[in-house]
Each structure stands twice: as C-alpha cells, then as structure tokens.
Amino acid sequence: MKDVFTGKLVRLSAVDPEEMSKAFTRWNRDSEYTRLLMMSAQPLSSAKAIQKWMEKEIEGVSPTNFFFTIRALDENKLLGGLGLNVISWAARESFIAIFIGEREYWGKGCGTDAMNIVLRYAFTELNLQRVSLGVFEYNPRAIRSYEKVGFQHEGRMRKYLNHEGKRWDLLYMGILREEWLQVQNGDKT
C-alpha cells in the first residue's frame, strides 16, 4: 500500500503548533484569504496565543478531529492545512475545511491534490460514507476545485454572509462514498 499521505504536488503532515502558529500570523494578515476561509471576522492574534490554542485543541489524537498541514513535495514548504471533523461516527459523515495560506500557490492544483489525498484517507482509512463542506459563493476557485474532485452541489444557504454591505450565499457540497469510488474508477492514474 503506497503512502496514504503523499499526492502528486503536495503531502499531508502533522501539525507543529510552533511552526503553524507563526504561519497563521502571516496568512491572517491577508484579509482576502481570511474572508475566503472564515465565517466571521477574526482578530489578529499573536503567534503565542495561536500556538497555545493549537496545543490545546489540535495537537494529540482525537476520535473526531483530524488535522494536517499541507506541504509542497518539491521544497517541503508549508502551504496550508486542512481539518477533517467527523460530525457523526454512527452516520459516518465528516466535514472538511481546507486552506492554502501561501498566495503564490493558489490556482496551481495544490488544493485539489490535497483534497484528493484526504478523501482517500476518509473513505479507505476512516471508512466514512460521506464528506461534506461549505464554501462561499464568492470563492469560485475553491468551488471548481471541489467539483473537479467529485463533490456535488447540495444547495445554498441564502444571504448567509455579510461583507462590505453585501450579502452572499453559503454553498453546501457533499460527496458520497459510492460517488468517490466512481471517480477513482474513471481515473486510471
């Protein structure tokens, strides 16, 4: 069985709170980035505060939360991260959130590659039946990436977000185990 955490462009690795918290302080200063990712306004927290929070919430093993960093394969550069949150083990469904903090890596296929790795992990290692996500109407790059990977549109919560005096929808997407298997069977690489 090949390494489950390595893709074509990126690999997933463990979160190191010290390294990640420093990266967060840089990425969080890019308000276009935070508005693509976050539901509500974020304070500009210090690396120290973020590290403390990560050590408490993220480090260590949890039965419901799985956090990873995304690193570029060629230079091992820290690009972003993702979190898989199993909302119901009985239903075998999880939510996923993914972020690429390094702007130069947007639109290069890194997010799609990382998502492919984590879906394989979700369906063949955690044996889940469904993965869900929410994405903002004004994030077409992410929507296209999720569609490419096999997520189906399931609806939108109307006028959910409020930015710059305008309201935006929150889109819901989901992929079922059988749909993911079909995507895999269609792709022989």
Partner: protein, 190 residues
C-alpha cells in the same frame, strides 16, 4: 403588530422560562427514555440520560450562554400549570453575519400535536428577528421528522440544502435538510 409592550416570552398556552435546576432534570430524563423523541431531536445516537447527567448538562449550558454569548436557551412551560413541556433555543449565533440556528422540541408524545410547537416557534422567531435583530435563521431537519418539516413550511421556511444520505437509522440512510428564513420573509408574514 408587536411593540415594546408586547410580551416576548408569553404565548397563548405556553411561556418561555429559565431552567429549574431542581425539577427539570427529572422531567427531561423521562423524555430521553423515549427513543422516538431522541431521534426527532438529535442526530447523535439516541441514548437515555439520567437526571444527574442532565443537571450537569444544564450547568454547562448556562456557562456557555454566559461565556460564548452566541446562545439563547428557553424552557417551554404550559401557562395553565407551569409544567415543563419542551425546550427552545437560538444557537450558533454569528453576530457579524446576523445568523442563528433554531432548535425546538416538545418532550412528551401526549403534548405534541396540540399547537404548542407552533406557538413556541412563533415566539422564537420574534425573539430572533425583533430582539436579536438577526438577518436570517436556519433549522436542520432530518427527512423523517414530518412534524418539523410541516412546521417549517407553515412558517415560510425555504428548503435550501439537502445533505444527501447524511444519517443512518434503522438500516437505511436519510437526507438531512437545511431550512432558511430571512427577516424580510418573516416580517411579510406578520
């Protein structure tokens, strides 16, 4: 039309009230021993709870209300005899976006189908839109909860999302719907 003088927490046959830490845990414990109620209310696996567990949950809840400031919780009591009949909440409030999620349940099977849910939802919506000044409210309803589906439609909620096959119960998978109601839509109904 409502104004400042119209009571927010008094309905026709029901009222909203605080938790009674002495009496309520025992009553709610009985509801939790009804698997139908648990499956209508919760997506998590149904399990009965003791009064002792519920006491702890209530304490945690009041702490959350106090600290997180994104939750309002009400016990529903009958006006006639002050009996606890259900619970209601506006939760997961995001103030910058003006959003909240609604939760509502009538505990005992004998108390359902009497219009208490309708009265409670009316009061809850007024609280969310006219007092919390939310822009929209959402509700998550499993496909098999016909009572909640009917109630949502009665109040003009729109079915916005279908999370396909999100739940598994009794050997089959069920969809989970997300309903939404905007404040304009609510106001137009008044």
């Amino acid at each position: 039309m409502f104004d400042i003088q119209t009571q927010l927490f008094e309905g026709q046959d029901i009222r909203f009230g605080p938790i009674d830490h002495e009496k309520d845990p025992g009553i709610e414990s009985k509801w939790t021993h009804d698997s139908e109620f648990m499956r209508l209310m919760e997506v998590d696996p149904a399990r009965p709870l003791s009064a002792a567990m519920l006491k702890k949950q209530y304490e945690k809840l009041e702490k959350e209300v106090e600290e997180d400031k994104n939750l309002y919780h009400f016990m529903i009591r009958s006006k006639a005899d002050d009996r606890l009949i259900g619970k209601a909440a506006v939760q997961w409030i995001e103030w910058t976006n003006g959003n909240g999620f609604l939760r509502l349940g009538i505990g005992a099977a004998e108390d359902r189908g009497k219009g208490y849910g309708t009265q409670a939802l009316q009061m809850l919506l007024r609280f969310a839109f006219a007092e919390l000044n939310l822009f929209r409210v959402s509700a998550i309803v499993p496909e098999y909860n016909e009572g909640a589906l009917a109630l949502s439609k009665k109040f003009g909620f729109m079915q916005e999302v279908c999370r396909r096959r999100s739940l598994e119960r009794d050997g089959r998978r069920w969809d989970l719907f997300v309903f939404g109601l905007l404040s304009d839509e609510w106001r137009n109904q008044l």
